[in-house]
């Protein structure tokens, strides 16, 4: 046991160090190689300093925030629904946001508000709409039963996906390609405004989840057991849903539906660290953030000067890595169960 505990702590330290390393290193990597001493040559108006501080750094920060938010909400949903296949988009947030974005592109609008692009605003509106719909349906069906929420999320996803396809089908080629590109997800979201737009959601959501690790542990075992141990399950569930949905809504609005991180990073962390949310939650935050920064760095450098949508890279890199992890460490405690 002590060995096991030490291992978890070591992994947390490793993940923390990796996050620092990635956050510091990624801005230095890019199409244009930047010498270290150029970073501090503001006075000379050095273009290298500008590239690193004003373009790459905010992008790296957005990637980290987005990755952390996706991994954390994936973890929350997997625990709440007690399903290994739940992910941040299970409740239809991604399809809602996508519908908003596609609608915006279909209408050919072009505006921005308070530093937010119109497409982001529409996408956020769509995300909010889907969250409200799922909540409304769950409330109509008396209470927030897990099965009801899950099924209404899936139903709404399908419904919205059809609308998206319909709008794509009715659009000309250029617009349709534009929509397709948005649906692949990307992190070329511009400067520090995006960081400032995203940070409050992600920070509040992360803090809430880090404070609820005991509750997550008990809910992961069994909801009724959790109630009998003193967890106010209905309240905790609502808080977690709201936080996760808001985090994900904001990420999808800015970056599009980036896949894989939300479903796989929590599993990767479970394989490394075990089931205890006191360790699992910070691990998912660090791992998710670092992983998306890495993927984005690959996405923007591998065929430079062009970029690959980061959503393609996440699954391409993450898939084989996950299989390797799975082969190396069979899921703890599940022997004989599967």
């Amino acid at each position: 046991m002590t060995g096991n505990r030490d291992r978890r702590k070591i992994w947390l330290v490793v993940l923390f160090a990796a996050a620092i390393l990635v956050l510091a290193g990624a801005p230095l990597i890019g199409m244009r190689s930047v010498p270290l001493e150029a970073l501090f040559r503001f006075a000379a108006g050095g273009i290298d300093a500008d590239i690193v501080w004003k373009i790459r750094l905010p992008r790296v920060l957005v990637a980290f925030l987005a990755g952390a938010a996706l991994a954390l909400s994936g973890l929350a949903f997997q625990t709440l629904f007690r399903s290994p296949l739940a992910e941040p988009f299970t409740l239809g947030v991604a399809s809602g946001a996508s519908l908003g974005a596609v609608l915006y592109l279909r209408l050919g609008l072009a505006f921005s508000l308070a530093g937010l692009s119109g497409v982001s605003l529409f996408a956020f509106g769509g995300a909010i709409l889907s969250i409200l719909l799922v909540y409304g349906l769950a409330r109509l069906a008396k209470g927030f039963a897990m099965g009801t929420m899950l099924l209404s999320g899936v139903a709404i996803s399908f419904f919205f996906s059809s609308l998206i396809l319909f709008m794509q089908y009715m659009s000309d080629f250029a617009r349709s390609a534009h929509m397709m590109r948005w649906l692949m997800g990307g992190l070329e979201v511009g400067g520090f405004e995006s960081v400032f737009n995203m940070a409050p959601f992600v920070i509040v959501g992360s803090v809430v989840m880090l404070l609820l690790t005991h509750e997550l542990n008990l809910l992961a075992v069994d909801e009724e057991l959790a109630i009998s141990r003193g967890v106010d399950a209905v309240k905790i569930r609502k808080v977690l849903f709201l936080c996760s949905s808001a985090m994900v809504g904001c990420v999808v609005a800015l970056c599009g539906p980036i896949g894989f991180v939300g479903i796989m990073v929590p599993h990767m962390c479970r394989l490394l660290i075990g089931a205890d949310h006191r360790y699992l939650t910070p691990a998912a935050l660090l791992f998710g953030g670092s992983f998306l920064v890495l993927c984005d760095t690959v996405a923007r450098t591998i065929i430079a000067p062009a970029e690959i949508p980061v959503g393609i890279i996440t699954a391409l890199l993450g898939g084989p890595f996950f299989v390797w992890l799975l082969l190396g460490h069979p899921l703890p405690g599940k022997r004989g169960e599967r």
Binding site: N217, L218, D222, G336
Partner: protein, 264 residues
């Protein structure tokens, strides 16, 4: 210390689920430190009653009082310091270790910021010692026999340090040795710690031998509450189960035991 007062007071209590009455107009008083075996046919509402007592389910009429206080007036954590619930331990597929699982039972005493304090660790150690589960501390819940897991669940309820323990068929899936172990353990917890125990069981002889009172539910209504020797009569048993029984005597203690009469 025993017979100090009423621990659980149920009055005119009903519970509906999906528009169907699962519990009807139940009135039952359980004194502090008592041992009650809750029996009745399948679907008679035994588990539902336990769940109402820890507020997993809410009633639709009547009242439940715990130590004199209305159950609605507790917040969930306060209630968890009074009552522990031991569900049927089969079917839990959680990869937490026993020690982690027992520490989680300290939730009603934990603050969100603090790690486990010495009192928590001590409660867990004592619970493992009492139940003889110390050697399992590092094992995953999924990685043990049904009897071991049942003991762990009882240990968790002990670590919760409550005045009442509710158990849902704690011996149903166990072999005779493990069954006897659990019975002995529950008796000890009841006698030595003064914990009020309500245990759901289908084993009428075990209920009779447990030494406490028997309460019987049928179709959601309380049809009997009293000492085992009154329960072990053809009239009462037939009214509860709708079948005839044969009676015999315990070979050692002479207490009355039953077997269902099988139609020829």
């Amino acid at each position: 210390m025993r017979n100090a007062g009423t621990m659980i007071g149920i009055e005119g209590f009903s519970c509906n689920r999906n528009g169907k009455a699962v519990l009807r107009d139940i009135s039952l008083t359980i004194g502090e430190g008592k041992y009650v075996s809750l029996v009745g046919p399948n679907g008679s509402g035994k588990t539902t009653l336990l769940k109402c007592l820890v507020r997993i389910l809410k009633g639709s009429a009547g009242s439940i009082r715990i130590a004199g206080r209305r159950i609605e007036d507790f917040n969930q954590r306060e209630l968890a310091r009074f009552i522990a619930y031991v569900p049927q331990a089969d079917g839990y597929v959680s990869s937490f270790t026993v020690e982690e699982f027992l520490l989680m039972a300290r939730y009603p005493y934990l603050s969100p910021f603090a790690a486990a304090r010495r009192s928590d660790v001590e409660a867990v150690r004592l619970a493992m010692e009492t139940t003889g589960t110390g050697h399992l501390a590092d094992r995953a819940l999924t990685d043990m026999s049904g009897g071991e897991r049942q003991k762990v669940f009882i240990a968790a309820a002990l670590a919760q340090e409550t005045k009442v323990m509710l158990l849902d068929e704690p011996t149903t899936f166990l072999d005779p040795k493990q069954e006897a172990d659990i019975r002995f353990l529950l008796g000890r917890i009841n006698r030595e710690r003064g914990v009020t125990i309500v245990s759901v069981t289908h084993d009428l002889n075990a209920a009779a031998l447990a030494g406490g009172r028997i309460a019987a539910l049928k179709e959601g209504a309380l049809v009997f509450s009293g000492p085992p020797r009154e329960f072990m009569s053809q009239e009462v048993l037939k009214s509860v189960y709708g079948t005839e029984f044969c009676f015999t005597a315990h070979p050692v203690t002479g207490e009355r035991l039953v077997v269902p009469r099988v139609a020829p």
